[in-house]
């Protein structure tokens, strides 16, 4: 065979394969789904949901892409700007207004409402507030998760204190009581703190998670319409309580210190039900209680995250189909073990209370009650700017001699123009 002949054969093989003739013509599609969890248990469960979708869509695979929580929004935004938007992803409540306003999310209402047996009306209307307009749906909350108090029962028992569970029964489970318990349980000699803030990040990225539940229990709020309420006497009273826990009592892990509840180094913390997976190997007895009440009564606070399809995703229709699959009754019930659902039928069904084997049904009832009565963390179209403006003032709170009222007033004057 001459050289020329060989070359022609190579060229024609290359051309035919590039045109798709003779090559594998199966058009496999991959949906990329961004999440911020790295938990093996969470990813295993998500993988099972993806597998059940693949069973009806054999050519489709779903890849879950974990991005660290702190960088999540920035990274997906950069991916979108770089023309490599994920098809689907999780999105937190405080990012929702900005993403909806920017047109970054796909309207999936058509697919959801036409999906067989989907029952769109089953979703709790208050829970859908951030994610739908009169004629469009931009996401489905997969986690409407109330904040809960986790406590180290072994430490409570050793100190001979009444546990939060016992106090709930007689109505004495208040923020003042939590403050007092934290002070009593602080043991500097063994490095045990009384209280740890949300994921230990309560002075930085999660400062709102730390303060909003207390502020609401005292009758205050972050803002109402375009009016900042963080400097109201009720809000200031609440912030002062927390400040006293950190500095006057010295019971709370302060900024710049570590005190992990899940390794037994703090007696109390506030977090969500999904963190229960971190207690699988706990060497101590633990319990879960609802948030304490304040002078204004109970004020359950809910953190919310939704599954969204991105407007710039390459497989928009398929992504909407997967979103419908992931948030159907069966899969919402499956996810309910970690992520409290916004589907009323699942929430009110017996299955929810027994969905998490690590949590007793009466404890899961706290979660259900929190969803029913709780309000979502504050969000705003300009939340990143508000957060940046508020940050130096929140920082100013964290010193022993801080003037809480004056600092909150300054904070409000800073964020008011942004509201």
């Amino acid at each position: 065979m001459s050289d020329l002949m060989i070359k022609r054969l190579i060229y024609s093989a290359a051309i035919t394969s590039s045109l798709g003739f003779g090559a594998n013509t199966v058009s496999a599609e991959e949906l990329r789904f961004t999440v911020w969890t790295g938990s093996e248990a969470h990813l295993k469960m998500l993988g099972e949901i993806a597998d059940s979708f693949t069973a009806t869509h054999p050519d489709v695979t779903v890849r879950f892409d974990t991005i660290p929580f702190g960088d999540y929004v920035q990274k997906i935004t950069l991916q979108m700007a770089g023309g490599n938007a994920p098809d689907l992803g999780w999105l937190l409540e405080n990012s929702a207004p900005a993403f909806v306003d920017a047109g970054a999310l796909a309207d999936v209402s058509g697919t959801l409402k036409s999906a067989d047996g989907y029952d769109y009306a089953d979703f709790s209307q208050p829970a859908m507030g951030l994610w739908e307009t009169s004629d469009a749906t931009y996401g489905i909350p997969f986690s409407t998760s109330p904040f809960l108090v986790y406590y180290n029962k072994s430490l409570y028992d050793a100190a001979g204190l009444e546990t939060p569970d016992q106090r709930i029964k007689d109505g004495s489970w208040t923020w003042e009581q939590l403050k007092s318990d934290a002070k009593a349980l602080r043991d500097a000699s063994s490095g045990v703190w009384g209280f740890e803030t949300f994921d230990g990040q309560g002075y930085g990225s999660r400062v709102w998670h730390t303060l909003i539940p207390i502020i609401r229990a005292y009758g205050g709020s972050a803002w109402e319409g375009d009016s900042c309420k963080l400097d109201s006497p009720l809000s200031v009273q609440a912030v002062q309580l927390f400040h006293d826990m950190v500095y006057a009592d010295g019971s709370t892990v302060p900024p710049g210190e570590q005190g992990d509840f899940f390794s037994g180094k703090a007696a109390l913390t506030v977090t969500q039900i999904s963190r229960v997976s971190k207690l699988a190997d706990a060497t101590f007895d633990w319990g879960i209680a609802p948030l304490p009440s304040g002078p204004a009564g109970d004020a359950a606070t809910v953190g919310q995250a939704a599954v969204v399809a991105f407007a710039q995703g390459k497989h928009k229709e398929l992504a909407a189909e997967f979103l419908a699959h992931m948030t159907n009754k069966e899969n919402v019930a499956k996810m309910a073990a970690f992520f409290p659902p916004a589907r009323k039928s699942v929430l009110n069904g017996d299955g929810f209370l027994t969905s998490n084997t690590a949590v007793a049904p009466e404890k899961m009832a706290f979660v259900a009650e929190g969803i029913e009565s709780g309000s979502v963390l504050p969000s705003h179209q300009r939340f990143p700017q508000i957060e940046a403006e508020a940050r130096p003032n929140f920082d100013a709170l964290w010193s022993k001699n801080a003037d809480v009222a004056a600092t909150m007033k300054k904070l409000c004057s800073g964020i008011s123009p942004l509201l």
């Binding site: 929004v73 950069l78 993403f99 002075y203 930085g204 710049g256 210190e257 570590q258 990143p384 940050r391």
Partner: protein
């Protein structure tokens, strides 16, 4: 036997030029696409109001610059923080580097070991370095304050008190980067002929006189290079601030590079961030030119 084909003849010079360009073309292509292109693009983006999230963009001329320089008070605070960081880091870094180089340039027992010790942080991951220092600088349980408590000193909350946070990030950054400058100084010191030193000693010069009259002037070119790269590096600092303080407390360590990141990737004001990046570029260029001119004036 096939006939030899003759193409259009090129001169040897032209053929060499083509070969040369072909050899450099891979790196040149990368340089143009990934360096020169974005550099030009930043100037263009700085004249637009471009929201990264919505991908909406419109031409606004010099409005971003006007806003940053005349209306944005935070920008000036951030600029002052950047200059404070540089003013703290550069002299400390250079003085330490020179001191270490003078101590470790000669062959003496342990010199190689200590050179390795001081150079190791340079090749250590910046992330690991910053995270370890955040632990060491914890208020009560940090090793630094526990060490101080042995002497009865109640150390501050280093990274969470506005007065100490900048000091802490400067000091830990110096420890991270001083090794490189030390090596540059050692190389320069070892290239100074010993004859000068010996001649000066025969003439009765003291160690200080030898350093001041001979060593220091001969180190001047190296000092200029070190100063330029340290100043540029200090103004560009980002990772260290991001990991150790996040710009806090109370924006006390918010430097220009971090502020650019926040504007671009947290608030999605990409056009505005590009304008700030151009300001940072201009600042670094200006400082570098000033250093060059000072050097030239001294000659």
């Amino acid at each position: 036997m096939s006939a030899v084909r003759k193409g259009p003849s090129l001169s040897l010079k032209a053929r060499e030029a083509i070969t040369g360009w072909l050899f450099v073309s891979p790196i040149l292509t990368g340089f143009l696409i990934f360096f020169v292109g974005p550099l030009i693009a930043v100037f263009y983006y700085s004249t637009t109001e471009w929201n990264l999230l919505s991908q909406q963009s419109r031409f606004v001329g010099m409005a971003n610059y006007v806003d940053a320089l005349t209306r944005n008070e935070t920008f000036w605070d951030v600029l002052v923080n950047s200059l404070v960081f540089a003013a703290g880091l550069v002299p400390l870094n250079m003085a330490m580097a020179l001191g270490l180089a003078l101590a470790l340039s000669k062959s003496r027992p342990g010199a190689v070991f200590f050179r390795t010790v001081f150079f190791a942080p340079v090749i250590t991951s910046a992330v690991a370095w910053a995270i370890i220092w955040t632990f060491l600088l914890q208020h009560e349980s940090g090793a630094v304050n526990q060490g101080l408590s042995i002497f009865g000193i109640d150390g501050p909350n280093w990274l969470h008190e506005p007065d100490w946070a900048m000091v802490s990030v400067i000091f830990t950054r110096v420890l991270k980067t001083v090794g490189l400058n030390m090596i540059l100084y050692i190389a320069a010191l070892q290239s100074i002929p010993r004859d000068y030193d010996e001649a000066a000693r025969i003439e009765g010069a003291s160690n200080w006189e030898i350093f001041r009259r001979i060593t220091w002037p001969l180190l001047a070119p190296t000092t200029l290079v070190i100063m330029v790269i340290t100043v540029v590096g200090s103004l560009k600092v980002f990772d260290h601030i991001y990991l150790m303080t996040g710009g806090g407390p109370q924006n006390g360590t918010m430097v220009l590079a971090f502020y650019i990141y926040e504007q671009g990737f947290k608030f999605f004001n990409t056009g505005y961030a590009a304008a700030l990046a151009v300001v940072l570029f201009a600042l670094i260029l200006l400082l570098t030119i000033v250093q060059m001119l000072l050097k030239a004036a001294r000659k």
